[in-house]
């Protein structure tokens, strides 16, 4: 018998969305997501099990239908529930702050991310955003998704905002001169 009705709060609640110059930052609702790490030699079995529920096994550094690469021997899967698999599975739905950067996302992220962001759509990178370990994925040529630990949501918003503001200042500069 439940006596409470817990209310959910997202990682970036109260922080986003914001628009600075041509750049918009918005929180992404990821729904239910799971980390899947196949046990030794079981990647194929996991891929088959996931295929049955309409999820494609992502290649290293790629997004696929309903899933994306997460790291060495790890993928992330979007699904309400997962089939039985010879893999370590953990609920990661609440572990991350996920923010989409749209507009001149490459220019903003070039201030914070030490990798070449001129990548094709669907590319996923584990790297840094400022001082934070992060996932950076290219959703469209003008939109990236950045994922950091949930507790760092405020720092992520701060870092992205600061970078976008400097770029907006440069934009104003081009008009000035």
């Amino acid at each position: 018998m439940s006596v409470v009705n817990l209310i959910a709060k997202s990682a970036c609640a109260g922080l986003l969305p914001v628009t600075i110059g041509d750049v918009t930052l918005a929180e992404v609702d990821v729904g239910q997501m799971w980390s899947v790490s196949p046990f030794a030699g079981s990647e194929k079995d996991c891929a088959v099990a996931l295929k049955a529920v309409g999820v494609a096994w992502p290649q290293v550094g790629q997004r696929a239908e309903g899933a994306y690469w997460l790291g060495l021997d790890q993928v992330m899967v979007y699904a309400d529930a997962l089939p039985e698999m010879p893999a370590a599975v953990t609920d990661q739905s609440d572990a991350w702050a996920v923010v989409s950067v749209s507009g001149d996302a490459q220019t903003v992220l070039a201030r914070l991310v030490p990798v070449d962001l001129r990548v094709p759509e669907g590319a996923v990178m584990r790297t840094l955003v400022g001082h934070m370990t992060a996932h950076v994925s290219c959703v469209a040529h003008d939109r990236f998704e950045v994922m950091v630990m949930r507790s760092m949501a405020r720092t992520l918003v701060h870092d992205l905002t600061t970078a976008a503001e400097a770029i907006a200042a440069r934009g104003a500069l081009d008009v000035d001169i």
């Binding site: 439940s2 006596v3 980390s35 609920d91 630990m149 500069l173 000035d176």
Partner: protein, 950 residues
């Protein structure tokens, strides 16, 4: 003086308002306004004027702006003029014209090279109090404001196939060829405009003014999406694996500058060449300038550097300068051909040049001039090729150093920095080099039609210094003249590196860009060696000064480190809880209640609340690592000193982790959720460390183990509920009863239908639980827990109370397991199982880590008049003198126990476990505390543990 009518804006120099053209350099604007003297020299405070026209400028260093935003040591030859620009001279007081420290120049015979070393040796005590402050005031450059810089800096990353450094004829050609071949190109140019020397010279390309060709190439480059042109961007350093630093001046719209890290597969250095001077007596008066700069001011900025100009030099640039000045309507009084043995042997003019003395093969005459254009030839700008230990080589044909091929991996040089000194050659060199570079990238260059350009050969008769009386300056920025170098050699500082350090030649912001080759030529001369044998000093990054603020851009304030917030943060902050940092996390220190005026009152109340009712604390910051797999148990047995394979499903156990050297790494509670599924808890501080350690074990030490680890720290918001009423609190909240859950048990539960995990573990010695829910529900659950606790006479507690509660129970934290303690030291040697191998086991068996006189964990209570104890204090025998050799241990944690009404401490004491009951002495030398304390068991409260079992 301006050579044509232009639109101007106001700016100030030393408070006087002048007018300049937006975008021209401050140096050009000052010269146009007739300001000759712009600085006092570093050491002798001699009047100095603008020498050059680029970033190599040794003299014209100014401070831009005022107050916190003031930026010192800006080269006036680089700073662009804008409306309202404020510039100030440096190193002069009370004013540039009447600088009292100019007295240094009168006593200069005593201030030569090595002066500091020889003079300030004694008395030793005078150095810090007398000599250093005096020297710092007398000698020096601009000063910092001492305030935080309010301006914004950026840093950014860029990537390319080919980085072309410098946009003169060679660089433009290289960028064009590489770009048209399809390579991803960055063209970085430190000037505000493309063109390099073509900006400053009068030359034709394909029969049209050269700048027309530059504009055409710029348009073609801008039209290519694979080419990025970065102006005002000086590449400052060449680093490993094709990484470059670059400094971009922005200086508008609140944005000061951007520091770039550019990663390039290949680089083409087209940095051009720097003109060098000739050492002749009193060659440093304002008005004595580099000939190339004189042409630049006339040709690029339409500014005359004088009304009566003489030209002195040893290359074809003498005639070129005379031609350009005459064409611009500036009177050229005389030419002095150094190659033909004609020399300038003296100058006059206190604050600016008024005349020169010329010796033409024995015929001496004085000539009235207000500007002398000097050229001693050109030095290829080899600096970046030296950043990875490369040494340039001497080339007799140009009487200068050229880069050693391959000095920086994947870098080639083209144009003037490659020793090619006419425009036609630079165009050809740039094209050919770029063609070869793109080929190494698997690309094919399109055929290029080279335009027709000047191909006059460069002919030079080396002239370094001329005879005559008076100081012949070489390094203007450091006030080093020929005699200083001769003195260095005489005193046996004959190596070029020793000479540099003895005389300071080549140091400071300009790094000897204009003086190095002349200086070592003079050194070669006095030591009787050739120049190649003498060699060069080492050029190091940065090529131009880079403010630390730019390198550290984004790192101030909130950008210093990520801030981690728990889901309960807002609620804690709302009731006024001060936060303390724990790693990157912010945790509430205590929760001030009404009427409480200091933290101790709050802390005491919170401790009592937990002991008597119930308290709620956010423990989400502890690391939580999910471990699954057929070998999950085997992994835990290998990383923990004790055994986890025997743990029953649904139960938790305390675990101790060792480093491979046998010392304690971390501790925590690990629960078995399923046959092959565990969740490990780490301390807050060590969560990242332990995660890395587990990955190390799985990938490096035991890849045979089939187990997977992933952090779930952020997935769960976890709250401790501690106190005799904790069960009551949870029974009213969870969808299941908690009475059946045994001590050290764990279970899946639900809260209002939300999936949760419940652990019955305690860090307070009370009956306690930890309840974890998905983080999105954390804030709301925390509110519900605190409300329910309040209804039971409890409430939230913070880190201070948590600390006291655990000290009362003798539970350790990283204050105790600080990296130098063993399981034996903390009394846990019994849980180092020898039935299996584990990390650290072999080394933990070393005799020196077991027994003997090792300091062991003890509890301490004050028994004398002094009741105050302090962490960090040292322990001594009760009657021993409190000096280092008598030290027997130290205190790691203290807290006032409201439960026992006394201050308690944990610490380490030599053979401590055998000394319970002994009274010893605690001395905190820092805080001046001296107390008698009794040694006791570290568990002060409820040693039988009855309360935790309920």
């Amino acid at each position: 003086m301006r050579l044509c009518q232009v639109e101007t804006v106001p700016f100030t120099f030393d408070g006087v308002t002048y007018r300049g053209v937006v975008g021209e350099t401050l140096a050009a604007a000052l010269i146009a306004n007739g300001v000759k003297m712009v600085a006092r020299s570093f050491k002798y405070h001699r009047p100095r004027g603008v020498m050059g026209s680029g970033s190599e400028e040794p003299n014209a260093l100014v401070t831009i702006g005022r107050g916190a935003a003031a930026e010192p040591n800006v080269r006036a030859t680089v700073q662009e003029v804008y409306s309202g620009l404020e510039a100030f001279s440096q190193n002069a007081w009370p004013s540039l014209k009447t600088d009292v420290m100019a007295v240094n120049d009168l006593v200069s015979p005593f201030l030569g090279a090595g002066f500091y070393y020889k003079t300030f040796m004694w008395p030793k005590a005078f150095w810090e109090k007398v000599y250093e402050p005096v020297i710092r005031r007398a000698a020096g450059l601009g000063g910092l404001s001492g305030k935080a810089d309010p301006e914004t800096y950026e840093k950014a990353f860029a990537f390319c196939d080919v980085l072309v450094i410098g946009a003169g004829p060679a660089g433009l050609m290289a960028a064009l060829v590489a770009g048209e071949a399809g390579a991803d190109v960055i063209l970085a140019e430190e000037d505000s405009a493309l063109g390099g020397r073509l900006l400053a010279e009068v030359e034709d390309i394909d029969g049209l003014p050269a700048m027309r060709w530059v504009a055409d190439v710029e348009a073609r480059l801008q039209a290519m999406p694979n080419v990025r042109v970065m102006t005002r961007t000086a590449v400052t350093g060449a680093y490993d694996q094709g990484t470059f630093g670059a400094f971009e001046r922005v200086d508008r719209a609140g944005l000061k500058a951007c520091f770039w890290r550019i990663v390039a597969k290949r680089s083409v250095l087209c940095a051009g060449a720097l003109e060098r001077g000739i050492a002749f007596p009193n060659n440093d008066r304002p008005g004595v300038m580099m000939a190339g700069a004189v042409r630049a001011y006339a040709n690029r900025w339409d500014v005359a550097t004088g009304t009566r100009v003489a030209v002195f030099g040893n290359t074809g640039d003498v005639a070129r300068t005379a031609r350009d000045l005459t064409d611009a309507g500036i009177e050229v009084v005389t030419l002095i051909d150094a190659a033909a043995g004609e020399h300038v042997i003296g100058t006059k003019g206190r604050h600016g040049l008024t005349s020169i003395t010329v010796d033409r093969n024995g015929v001496v005459e004085q000539i009235e001039v207000d500007c002398l254009a000097v050229t001693g030839g050109w030095n290829p700008t080899v600096h970046l090729t030296c950043h990875m230990n490369g040494r340039p080589v001497w080339d007799d044909a140009i009487a200068s150093f050229v880069p050693t091929p391959g000095a920086v991996p994947d870098m080639v040089t083209a144009g003037a920095c490659h020793g090619v000194f006419h425009t036609m050659g630079c165009l050809l060199d740039g094209a050919q080099i770029a063609e070869a570079v793109v080929k190494t990238l698997g690309l094919k260059a399109k055929p290029v039609v080279l335009p027709d350009a000047d191909a006059t050969p460069y002919v030079i008769t080396p002239v370094w210094s001329v005879a005559g009386k008076g100081r012949k300056w070489i390094d203007y920025q450091n006030d080093v003249h020929v005699k200083d170098i001769e003195l260095a050699a005489r005193e046996n500082f004959r190596s070029v590196e020793h000479m540099k350090r003895y005389t300071t030649q080549g140091m400071a912001p300009d790094q000897g860009k204009s003086s190095n080759v002349v200086a070592l030529a003079v050194l070669a001369d006095v030591t009787g060696r050739g120049i190649p044998e003498t060699g060069t000093t080492t050029f190091r990054p940065p090529f131009v000064p880079v403010p630390i603020a730019a390198m550290g851009a984004g790192g101030a304030g909130m950008g210093f480190a990520p801030q981690r917030y728990t889901t309960s943060h807002a609620a804690s902050a709302a009731v006024g809880a001060p936060m303390i940092e724990a790693g990157l996390w912010y945790r509430p220190s205590y929760f001030p209640a009404e009427g409480e005026t200091n933290w101790r009152q709050s802390c005491d109340r919170e401790v009592n609340m937990v002991r008597e009712a119930v308290g709620v604390v956010d423990v989400s910051t502890l690391g939580k690592i999910d471990i699954q797999g057929p070998d999950a148990a085997a992994l835990l047995d290998f990383v923990y000193s004790n055994t986890f394979s025997t743990l029953k499903v649904g139960r938790a156990r305390y675990g101790l982790m060792l480093r491979e050297d046998g010392h304690v790494l971390d501790d925590g509670t690990t629960a078995r959720l399923g046959e092959n599924h565990y969740v490990m808890t780490t301390t807050t501080a060590a969560s990242g460390l332990v995660m890395r350690h587990l990955e190390f074990v799985l990938q490096v030490l035991r890849p045979d183990l089939d187990a997977r680890v992933i952090s779930v720290t952020e997935q769960w918001a976890q709250f401790g509920v501690a106190g005799p009423k904790s069960r009551e609190l949870l029974n009213g909240l969870l969808d299941q009863g908690v009475d059946e859950l045994p001590f050290m048990g764990c279970a899946d539960v639900t809260v209002g239908g939300v999936r949760a995990r419940l652990f019955r573990i305690s860090f307070s010695g009370e009956m306690a639980f930890e309840l974890a829910v998905p983080a999105r529900f954390g804030a709301d659950l925390y509110g519900a827990l605190v409300d329910r606790a309040a209804a039971l006479g409890g409430g939230p507690y913070g880190m201070e109370a948590l600390n006291v509660l655990r000290i009362e129970k003798g539970f350790i934290t990283h204050a105790e397991i600080h990296g130098r303690v063993t399981a034996f030291d903390i009394g846990l040697d019994r849980i180092v199982s020898l039935k299996k191998d584990c990390v650290g086991q072999a080394m933990s068996r070393r005799a020196g880590l077991l027994g003997g006189d090792r300091a062991q964990l003890v509890g301490l209570k004050p028994v004398g008049d002094v009741k105050q104890l302090s962490a960090g204090a040292h322990l001594f025998e009760s009657d021993a003198e409190p000096v280092r050799v008598n030290g027997q241990g130290y205190i790691t944690s203290v807290g006032f126990s409201p439960t026992l009404g006394v201050m308690l401490a944990l610490g380490f004491l030599d053979r401590g476990r055998a000394r319970h009951g002994e009274v010893i002495r605690m001395v905190d030398h820092m805080r001046g505390l001296d107390a008698q304390v009794e040694v006791c068991d570290p568990v002060f409260f409820d040693p039988e543990g009855g309360r935790v079992r309920g």
